[in-house]
Amino acid sequence: MAQAQMRRAIESGVPDNKQYLHPKLAKNYGNWKYHDRPRPGVLHHVSHDGDEVWSVRAGTQRQMDVWTIRKLCDIADKYAEGHVRFTIRSNIEFMVGDESKVAPLIVELEKSGFPVGGTGNSVSMIAHTQGWLHCDIPGTDASGVVKALMDDLYDEFRREEMPNRVHLSTSCCEINCGGQADIAIIIQHTKPPVINHDLVANACERPTVVARCPVAAIRPALVNGKPSLEVDEKKCICCGACYPPCPPMQINDPEHSKLAIWIGGKNSNARGKPTFMKLVASGLPNNPPRWTEVGEMVKNILHVYKNDARPWERMSDWVERIGWPRFFEKTGLPFTKYLIDDWRGARVNLNASTHIRF
């Protein structure tokens, strides 16, 4: 009976965005000529017909309570004709058709606690994931790490003083939902999973778990008379791939799940082709609530990059010019044997030349 009363879904799919576009955006759809940035946090777009629109970008906490969203809506109604959009990095943008409203909008946003910035050569908001708040497999938190780091990088968000844009991401496991970035902070487990053999048979589809392991370190086994799984700990690379399909294979450890720093990921095709980021440091403690050690290292790398890179060099372009030895020298980071790739295809990451900077 209850079933009969349930509403059938309307499979409407992706909604049309035309109904939500700011009128100036709707009018000039596909007809924009150029843009400039009158100040950090503001984009000024001009159409082929001479129409102008100013977009004011502000940082948010991404996980927003309804009070925050309604506050942002109040501001949008007052200054931005009731239209906003979000960027891929969870910044909010207010489109303004009247230049005279830009300055008061900025004042109102900052007064309400939303920093204006994130455009051009700034450190933009960190792409982040779910973490302890909601994920089922997280090694660390996401929103807390981001909050702590963005407190530290607040001025760099509000200014455009970097050589080129800087994208950051955080990820709570090696799946790396946060994605490629100029600097990425990712959990790196250092011990094999701890297996609760009482639960494996009931909770896990064992062949699936065996197949999931990148190094074939898992095999079915009878443990204490129960069907379970065992891990060849010499082979195990502690990636945690077995944990999602088999939660009794606990990979997270308060002490041994460390944080690693990766640099030089670039999404864009501008100048060189897109690049993957490279592992440059690990072993940082997973240290809530403010992850101070991680923040210090990120700030150090940013500081060296800011002082050393030339205009328009992204992190990857900069290292390509100065070379990896000098990156490690300038940042003071130790170059350890673990940073030499030995996964499949690793030889393309070795130096097959006499190109050496002295």
Partner: protein
């Protein structure tokens, strides 16, 4: 008024500092909701013990097999009772955003009303796949919340081995670098696969992403199974007024160091105006009375750098469309893979063009569904079977634009070489 708050000494420390605080937001919600009081207690427990305590399960809405991310607490006392009973269930609804993530305040306020009534009141704009994440509802309330959101014209996104929610950039709505109608492509493609989104039955996840130009603001090459990235075939457009304005402001040093020297294929030269070539594939623009910028569009790889630096003075061409790359993904299981070119250029101007894009997506998904192993992404499948076999499967001809270099090893059986050469020569003759 809700029940008494738990002590949250760790989370409290995330209320200080200038960046907006999600903890402050949660505490505001906790004033009225016992649910969020316990969510805060649950999260504080994670902060104190440095571990996560949510497990998955099965929760859904009528008619769909995915789109809800179920979460049940694992923090239980010795009797097996939840320590934070009001937050024992903390499910998320993944809801697909409009292309370009444009909203008006009316719809955002309506989302808030629905979620205040049926959920925690916490909404993330947006998840890494682009979903609006309505975070935190009990099993009982999931259907009610979905009904409310669905009535507003929004639908659930993907989860599990399904076509996933997609993202597109701000695009034609507010970007001069847009090379196609990203919103149209996004909707037309995704809405073709609603069954594959709502009823997970593929070998593994499949992600589409839509970027309007090679700046690839959606990061699609590194993470999309099918990346649709705007580009153009004709010459870079120029605007003399804006070029002279740029040069007057920035000067020769910046032009040489930041523009000419950073062109990846050395396609840009600075010349006396009288010496600029007049060929059909040359773009040029005067910088002052004597000097001009000359771009050989045959050498240009459409990287966007010079256009990014001199926006307006230089612009994308008008013969627009997209390059399609397939197979991007992050580490697990075989290591990171970038998407690689499958369609060097696909015109995206009229209805037929967009239908062709949909048809390509359909072919790729059909092939993926038939041929991928369980939990294997498209990139891994192509790595296993080889690009040529994949291309034959989706009926796309090979093209030299698909490789960075030709093969560097002889380990291939090549007794079909003459036939292939004859076929290509016949095609050339027929063209």
């Amino acid at each position: 008024m809700a029940k008494k708050m738990h002590a949250t000494p760790n989370l409290d420390q995330l209320e200080s500092g200038p960046w907006p605080s999600f903890v402050t937001g949660l505490k505001r919600l906790a004033q009225d909701k016992d649910y969020v009081v316990d969510v805060l207690g649950h999260l504080e427990h994670s902060y104190q013990t440095r571990k996560g305590y949510w497990k998955g399960g099965t929760v859904g809405v009528l008619g769909y097999g995915g789109g809800i991310i179920p979460r049940f607490t694992e923090i239980k006392d010795e009797a097996g009772k939840p320590v934070f009973p009001d937050a024992a269930e903390f499910h998320t609804l993944r809801v697909m955003p409009p292309p370009g993530m444009h909203y008006n305040t009316d719809i955002l306020r309506k989302f808030c009303d629905v979620w205040e009534e049926h959920g925690s009141g916490l909404i993330a704009f947006h998840g890494q796949s682009g979903d609006i994440m309505f975070q935190g509802a009990t099993t009982e309330n999931v259907q009610k919340a979905f009904d409310g959101i669905n009535e507003l014209g929004f639908d659930l996104g993907g989860a599990g081995p399904a076509v996933r929610t997609s993202m597109s950039c701000v695009g034609a709505a507010r970007c001069e670098q847009s090379c196609y109608d990203e919103a149209k492509a996004h909707r037309q493609v995704l809405n073709t696969f609603l069954d594959d989104i709502h009823r997970p039955a593929l070998p593994y996840k499949f992600k589409f992403k839509f970027s309007g130009c090679p700046n690839d603001c959606m990061n699609s090459i590194q993470r999309a199974d099918m990346a649709v990235i705007g580009t153009w075939r004709d010459n870079i457009r120029t605007d003399e007024v804006l070029a002279k304005k740029w040069f007057a402001k920035h000067g020769m040093d910046e032009l040489v160091n930041d523009v000419v020297a950073r062109c990846p294929t050395k396609a840009i030269q600075i010349k006396d105006i009288s010496k600029v070539r007049k060929d059909g594939h040359i773009s040029s623009v005067a910088l002052n009375a004597e000097k001009a910028l000359e771009i050989d569009n045959k050498d240009c790889v459409r990287c966007m750098h010079c256009i990014n630096v001199m926006t307006g003075a230089l612009a994308t061409g008008t013969d627009k469309g997209a390059t399609v790359l397939v197979g991007g993904k992050r580490t697990l299981k075989i290591g990171d893979l970038m998407g690689t070119v499958v369609i060097p250029f696909m015109s995206l101007k009229n209805e037929e063009d967009y239908q062709q894009l949909v048809d390509l997506g359909q072919k790729i998904i059909d092939f993926f569904a038939e041929n991928a192993l369980e939990h294997e992404r498209t990139g891994e499948m192509i790595e296993r079977i080889g690009l040529v076999n994949f291309l034959e499967g989706i009926e796309v001809d090979i093209d030299a634009n698909m490789v960075a270099t030709p093969r560097t090893n002889p380990y291939v059986r090549m007794d079909g070489w003459d036939d292939e050469v004859a076929k290509i020569n016949a095609q050339k003759a027929a063209a």
